[in-house]
């Protein structure tokens, strides 16, 4: 597999400034690269800064300091409109609570990102069907998401994340709302997609879920304390913050 970096993070810091003048340093000097086709699990204790990192990687937020290059685009000097465009074209999101629109059909949900790419309705529908086929839900396109199970809803969300042919998929605790059996099914789907060449970065604090990934990055107290193969990880290999 060709190894080109999709993500390159250098000396990244994030500070939250709160009302009343307080501030909190949440990410400290983070550095890493993620290559095309990788399957990365970001782990760490609650409050360590995983979601903060994911939001920055997903171009929903900007670092306070340091550089972030996504697929050749330097995020630092991009405005809101350009960031929206990058999100729409390069990134697929999968959320813990699915975030589907319950009043719309499954096909409408899947094709929603294409609306913002000014793609025609017929083409959107066609692409939605292709994605539903990929996640094993062909036949459900006309129904509303409220009629299907949580696991199936997350599949719909994955189909939606795939529909714009993104360079990378970010999933923040995608199995957090699912039972272990359904979680396994979702993780098998991710593995399958990764085998097809799709780059996946997910956040989890479940070891079982992380085991599906090949690489693991561990964050603790805002620092990267481990970065390596998932199967090589052990507590002793962590660096100090």
């Amino acid at each position: 597999m060709r190894k080109t970096p999709v993500i390159e993070v250098k000396n990244l810091y994030k500070t939250y400034f709160m009302e009343g003048g307080n501030s909190q340093l949440v990410l400290k000097n983070i550095n890493f690269k993620i290559n095309e086709g990788e399957f990365v699990a970001i782990m760490g204790p609650s409050g360590s800064g995983k979601s903060t990192l994911m939001n920055i990687l997903g171009c929903l937020d900007k670092p306070t300091k340091g550089s972030y290059v996504l697929d050749g685009y330097d995020i630092e000097n991009k405005n809101d409109i350009e960031l929206a465009k990058i999100r729409g074209q390069k990134i697929g999101f999968v959320f813990q609570n699915f975030n589907l629109m319950m009043k719309r059909t499954i096909a409408d949900n899947v094709s929603l990102p294409l609306v913002y790419q000014n793609i025609k309705e017929k083409e959107r529908y066609k692409r939605a069907l292709q994605m539903l086929k990929k996640v094993g839900l062909l036949g459900y396109q006309k129904r509303p998401p409220s009629q299907i199970s949580g696991g199936m809803q997350q599949r719909v969300a994955i189909a939606r994340a795939l529909v714009n042919n993104p360079s990378i998929i970010f999933a923040d605790e995608p199995t957090g709302n699912l039972d272990s059996k359904t979680s396994d099914e979702i993780m098998e789907l991710f593995t399958e997609l990764n085998k097809q060449g799709i780059t996946i970065v997910l956040v989890t604090h479940e070891d079982d879920v992380a085991n599906y990934a090949t690489r693991m990055i561990k964050i603790s107290d805002g620092c990267k304390v481990y970065d390596g193969l998932r199967k090589d990880y052990s507590k002793e290999k962590e660096t100090k913050c």
Binding site: G58, L60, D80, I81, A84, K85, G88, F93, K103, V115
Partner: protein, 405 residues
């Protein structure tokens, strides 16, 4: 892109049908009220204009000049127009008829019946002036006027009150003890604009009035003269000619004020039309208060909607929706609601006012005004009430929005 936004907006508002309908109701009732009020005002205007026109819109009134004392307009001056003036006016170009009147109130007696009425001393042209016709018998002639014959032509109220089922023609009635022969009756005119009885009158020759009923030391001078122009278009030209002729006949020098005043019927009609217009506008303004209430309703609903759909907004932004897209979508939702609401309101307003017109027997015009007002109000209300919520949606930070429960 606009089509896609409109479609998203449409699906959103139709997803919450009851709430959308209730929100719409305010604007719907507001527009219906405006349309109904404007229609009512216009119906009144139309009714008044028609009433005046049926009295003859090409009439010109000539009366003595108003006395101006210290800049204050006051009572009428002494009569200055004579019977001979009127004769001369009749010969002017564009003049169809010219008449005049002297008036006195009398108790008219026939046999054991009597009734209070106004007696008008006039000439045969008065029929033309009042846009009326003879029903039975004949009108007295110019010759009858010249020789001061004791003839009377009476209105339908007189016929009913004095004669009942008898034929009045040829009968003798008494005015102030003097005998008058009824030679004709005038067709029913109906009620006047203010509900006054237009059929309660007696016409007699002017000369007879002066000689037998209401003497005057200046019998040649009339209180009021009327000219009927051949058409409404000629009124201005005829008015000018009247002024020119009367000034010459009264030997007024240049710079001297007219000792008479000329007022075309169209002046009255225009005044009344203006009053009707102001009335319409006043009603419309009052009704538009309900529009303000309606737009507050939309704003309120949209604000609730933005809060409720915070996570949806966050998701849309994460999936690549630019801020202006989000703003336009919410704006489109409020515009759609107010547009549909005002469209239905407009239709409803037209239907109700037509229905009311049919029931009450008035002709109610369908006003272009109402359409223009409701469409523009819809767009303005939609924008105004949707702007704040749309900006709120646009400014939502996607991270906060996604975390919102």
């Amino acid at each position: 892109m606009l089509k896609a936004i409109l479609k998203e907006a449409w699906i959103s508002i139709t997803s919450y049908k009851l709430r959308t309908f209730l929100t719409m109701l305010g604007i719907l009732i507001g527009v219906a009220a405006v349309v109904m009020m404007v229609s009512a005002g216009q119906a009144v205007q139309l009714h008044i204009t028609k009433s005046f026109s049926s009295m003859g819109s090409n009439r010109i009134f000539i009366s003595p000049a108003e006395l101006v004392t210290g800049g204050v307009r006051g009572a009428r001056g002494l009569p200055s127009v004579t019977v001979d003036d009127v004769k001369a006016l009749k010969e002017l170009k564009g003049v169809k008829a010219a008449s005049y009147e002297g008036r006195t109130a009398v108790q008219v007696v026939y046999g054991s019946n009597n009734y209070g009425t106004s007696v008008y001393g006039t000439n045969p042209d008065i029929l033309e002036v009042n846009n009326s016709e003879i029903e039975d018998g004949v009108m007295f002639t110019q010759k009858d006027v010249k020789s001061a014959r004791p003839y009377a032509v009476i209105g339908q109220t007189m016929v009913n009150e004095l004669f009942g089922l008898q034929n009045p023609i040829g009968k003798t009635i008494r005015l102030k003890g003097q005998p008058f022969k009824v030679i004709g009756t005038v067709k029913e005119q109906g009620d006047g604009l203010f509900g006054n009885d237009m059929d309660n009158f007696i016409y007699i020759p002017y000369t007879t009035l002066r000689q037998r009923l209401a003497g005057s030391d200046r019998p040649q001078y009339v209180n009021m003269a009327y000219v009927v122009a051949k058409s409404e278009q000629e009124i201005d030209a005829v008015s000018k000619r009247i002024e020119y002729l009367l000034r010459a006949r009264h030997r007024l020098k240049e710079g001297e004020k007219n000792d008479f005043q000329i007022r075309p019927m169209t002046d009255f009609i225009n005044k009344v039309r203006n009053v009707g217009f102001v009335l319409s506008m006043l009603l419309a303004v009052i009704a538009s208060i309900s529009l303000i209430v309606g737009s507050i309703g939309i704003m309120n609903m949209m604000l609730v909607s933005v809060t409720e759909r915070t996570r949806e907004i966050g998701t849309r932004k994460a999936l690549g929706a630019p801020n202006n897209w989000i703003m336009t979508q919410f704006l489109a939702e409020s515009i759609l609601i107010s547009f549909i609401g005002s469209f239905i309101g407009m239709i409803l307003g037209i239907i109700i006012s037509q229905l009311a017109g049919t029931i009450l027997g008035y002709e109610v015009p369908i006003s272009i005004w109402a359409v223009v007002v409701s469409v523009s109000v819809a767009i303005i209300v939609g924008i105004v009430s949707g702007l704040m919520p749309a900006l709120k949606a646009m400014r939502l930070n996607p991270i906060d929005a996604l975390r919102y429960q």
